[in-house]
């Protein structure tokens, strides 16, 4: 009888099996002159917002951190066991040339437990495979990553961009940052995320940022348009297996930027579109553009609260939902620009600011490297 009872008492669902709403803290910094800083500043920033996380997920993305391997895709993988690593490496070897690989360097940290095996690979597609696939290089990489994540049990690629890397775990973000020794990485831009899920997923892959090639997203919110967005974007080859907002938002931005070739501003006008009444007050040219975008991509409007920081090679974009239902502030000091859920997270690392403001709902704030800066 007892065993039957145990059978009926199901475990809590894992990441991807259900949709888990999360509250969050986000923060980011970029030095537009391209000067690099180590990850310690982000750890200090996000730890100020400790109470916006609940210890169930934290993570960072650093840009410009792998300059010695900047022409290679940097894959970060979690493995449940050595078997999974062996299988996934077989796949990697048959699809990519691996120029360097090693176990991720980490510190033991009392607050970070259940650590999977974490490896890093710098890879480039095997030319013959790539040509036979009839895909462009980026699409080839994405399809390989999707195959590992879908078909290789116990292996998960959580970062796959060039000259950037995502570091994440279950825990408070400041502990996660120390665990990954982020003070040893130098990048021109950093984003970070502290998660407050309303459930208890214990899976590292479910922490954020969520990445696709060099795109990374940190997000605070719970979008109410989720299933409309998911069902739309899944028409175009994406599979929302994690069922998180961050995942679907990343795919939407990737689709609009990479496939539809929209600009970042135009992407913002799709996903966080102005109200029709606001559009009606704009210049005829602006009206035409925004009306077109809303009419062409109605399924990609995102409703409900969100604040996101979208990272890409060369810059950051901050964007709020159209009603601004989540706090987010931006600030500047010389070439440095900051974005965070709360002002305190900026002031703690930069008390003196030239400018600080709250972007309006739907108003994208884009910080790019200054013209001519090479990383």
């Amino acid at each position: 009888m007892l065993s039957e009872f145990q059978f009926k008492t199901k475990r809590a669902p894992l990441e991807g099996e259900v949709r888990i709403p999360s509250g969050c803290a986000i923060s980011a910094v970029i030095d537009r002159s391209g000067k690099k800083m180590n990850g310690e500043c982000m750890i200090r920033s996000i730890s100020t917002m400790h109470d916006r996380s609940n210890g169930l997920g934290g993570g960072f993305a650093g840009y410009g951190i792998y300059s010695e391997y900047k022409d290679f895709y940097a894959f970060h993988l979690f493995f449940d066991n050595f078997e999974a690593r062996k299988d996934a490496e077989e796949f990697l070897n048959s699809h990519f040339e691996i120029v360097y690989s090693s176990e991720m360097k980490t510190w033991k940290h009392s607050a970070i437990t259940d650590q999977p095996i974490i490896w890093r690979y710098f890879v480039t597609p095997l030319q013959k495979r790539l040509q036979n696939s009839l895909l462009d290089e980026e699409a080839y990489v994405v399809s390989c990553v999707n195959r590992i994540n879908a078909e290789y049990k116990g292996a998960y690629v959580f970062s796959c961009g060039k000259n950037m890397g995502i570091f994440k775990a279950v825990g408070y973000p400041e502990d996660v940052g120390r665990f990954y020794r982020l003070d040893e990485y130098e990048g021109y831009a950093w984003t970070c995320h502290g998660r407050y899920p309303t459930n208890t997923p214990g899976w590292w892959g479910g922490a954020h940022p969520f990445g696709l090639l060099d795109y990374s997203i940190v997000h605070n919110g719970e979008i109410s348009s989720y299933d409309a967005n998911r069902r739309y974007i899944e028409m175009f080859g994406y599979k929302c297996s994690l069922q998180t907002d961050t995942e679907v938002i990343t795919y939407i931005i990737d689709y609009l930027l990479r496939q539809k070739k929209l600009t970042l501003e135009e992407v913002a006008q799709v996903i966080s579109a102005s109200f029709w009444s606001t559009i009606a007050e704009k210049s005829p040219e602006q009206q035409a553009q925004e009306t077109f975008l809303r009419r062409a991509f109605p399924g990609l409007l995102i409703c409900g609260p969100f604040s996101i920081i979208f990272g890409f090679n060369g810059g950051l974009m901050a964007l709020n939902d159209r009603l601004k239902l989540r706090s987010m502030v931006c600030a500047e000091k010389g070439d440095l620009a900051y974005i965070a859920s709360e002002e305190c997270a900026i002031r703690v690392i930069q008390p003196e600011l030239d400018k600080i403001f709250s972007p309006a709902g739907g108003q994208p704030v884009i910080y790019r490297l200054n013209g001519g800066v090479k990383i």
Binding site: S224, R295, G299, L323
Partner: protein, 502 residues
């Protein structure tokens, strides 16, 4: 031998209240009421009563009511009274049974087996009284390649779309099946609301050309009233392939409803039954449909969206997918509970499937094939309230058509006798005296009221879900949960059961 059939409903008069003012007598086109001078009181012949409630509503002393008759045959679960009566009727007349309005049988109503979600704690509901709440919908093909001019500005290369202030339109009801004043009411209301009404297959009366920008004109298998001006004046053209109330057959308009004006508008003889062919005789397959779609587009210089209306039948998803690939801008799907001015009873009550299931399958199939946004999907076939509208949109509809609900707003009491042409409410009749009873000013006002009320309710429900734009609700099936449905029904609808998590 004509078997006497006891009337299904009886007229009950409270003689204490009746003042013999004879309003009921004057109002009843069926001749139920008359004043008996010898008895000095009003008497009623229940045999003639269709239970349209005209007399009940207009009796100044509320002396009248209509009751379900208590007369009954021996109770038999297999041979119920109505089934027996229909046999007596057919044995007497040798004819096909005719009915009007939607299928009244107790089949499952899936709208009533779905619950809507609301926000709590983790995200906020939005207050429609204090924040913008957008219900504007554009119908038509949405997908285009992004093209830019020399300055990098995006070119507007979208095909023509219909702009609706709210996701509701008045569905096809022909002039002929309904009256001039009913059409006038629908046209005026559509104009005031910023939505569209649909001519049905009966052509467009000259007087209503001025409402063209809010008019969808229909091209059906009978091609009644179709000519160049008719197409040119419309905002969109609908090809009627099928109707939910009578899939597989064409429209029926009894000869007694074909008046001089109706005859002129339809371009057919007066007083003769107008039975549309079952199929379009130039469309025997999907590739033929494509030709008609492009014929109509050519004829109107690609300035108007083309809608293809199909009945919800078993293979509706594959049919819709074919239609979506044939140049249609909008697919309208009409469910088996959809209304009609006249249909063979057996067809109305037995052919087709519920719109909820058809919609869920069509939306899913179009997504599986990555062509969902090549077309808009409009559903009809018994949308009874704003909650039904919200559920339809969450299942995947872009907008809905309402027919019966609009007629109710005009006074219809669902007596289901449209085919007799003696509608006491001035709606489904061409009798001049009866038509006068429907004042188009009041009719239009009541339609506008109804739509405003529904739109407010839609906004309230959207806000509760934390959604402030209708496009974020479209196909958002996580916002729905089923109740009392089988595993298979949930699978077909593509929703979870109530109590299941996201």
């Amino acid at each position: 031998m004509d078997t006497y059939i006891y009337p299904e409903y009886e007229v009950v008069r409270d003689t204490d209240k009746c003042i013999a003012c004879r309003v009921c007598e004057r109002q009843c086109s069926n001749g139920v009421h008359r004043y008996d001078a010898d008895l000095g009181k009003m008497i009623a012949d229940s045999d003639r009563c269709v239970n349209c409630h005209r007399c009940v509503c207009l009796c100044p002393t509320h002396a009248l009511k209509i009751k379900k008759s208590e007369d009954t045959y021996r109770i038999n679960a297999n041979w119920d009274g109505q089934t027996m009566n229909e046999i007596y009727r057919q044995a007497n007349s040798g004819g096909v049974l005719l009915s009007s309005m939607g299928n009244p049988k107790p089949y499952p109503i899936y709208w009533d087996k779905m619950f809507i979600n609301a926000s709590q704690v983790t995200n906020p509901s939005i207050d429609p009284l204090r924040e913008p709440m957008e219900t504007v919908v554009y119908l038509g093909k949405h997908t285009v390649d992004i093209e830019r001019d020399a300055n990098g500005k995006i070119k507007n290369n979208l095909p023509p779309q219909l702009r609706l202030s709210m996701p509701i339109m008045f569905s096809a009801m022909s002039y002929g099946s309904i009256s001039y004043n009913a059409h006038a009411s629908l046209a005026r209301a559509a104009e005031e609301l910023g939505i569209y009404y649909n001519t049905g297959e009966g052509g467009l009366h000259r007087d209503f050309y001025r409402y063209g920008k809010n008019t969808i004109v229909q091209v059906a298998s009978g091609r009644f009233g179709v000519h160049k001006d008719y197409l040119d004046t419309a905002a969109a053209i609908e090809i009627k392939m099928g109707q939910g109330a009578k899939p597989g057959i064409g429209g029926h308009l009894p000869g007694k409803k074909i008046s001089v004006e109706v005859s002129a508008t339809r371009m057919i003889p007066q007083g003769v039954d107008a039975i549309s062919p079952a199929p379009h005789h130039d469309i025997y397959s999907i590739e033929d449909l494509r030709q008609l779609i492009y014929t109509l587009k050519e004829a109107t210089a690609y300035q108007k969206p083309v809608i293809v209306k199909i009945a919800a039948v078993h293979n509706v998803a594959a049919i819709a997918s074919g239609v979506a690939r044939s140049g249609a801008d909008i697919i309208a799907i009409d469910g088996f509970r959809g209304g009609t001015g006249a249909a063979p009873t057996r067809i109305r009550d037995n052919v087709g499937i519920p719109i909820e299931l058809a919609l869920a399958q069509v939306d899913e199939r179009l997504r599986q094939e990555s062509i969902r946004d090549n077309v808009s999907v409009v559903v009809a076939g018994s949308v009874r309230s704003s909650a039904d509208v919200v559920k339809a949109i969450c299942l995947g509809a872009d907008a809905v058509y309402i027919g019966t609900a609009a007629l109710l707003a005009l006074g219809c009491h669902l007596c289901r006798s449209c085919h007799t042409g003696k509608c006491n409410w001035g709606i489904a009749t061409q009798d001049k005296e009866l038509v006068k009873r429907l004042n188009p000013d009041i009719g239009a006002k009541r339609l506008v009221n109804l739509m405003h009320a529904w739109n407010h309710e839609i906004q309230e429900m959207m806000g509760g879900m934390g959604i402030n734009s209708i496009e974020s609700m479209r196909g958002n099936r996580l916002m729905l949960r089923g109740i009392g449905l089988t595993e298979k029904e949930l699978e077909v609808l593509g929703i979870h059961h109530a109590g299941e998590a996201m």
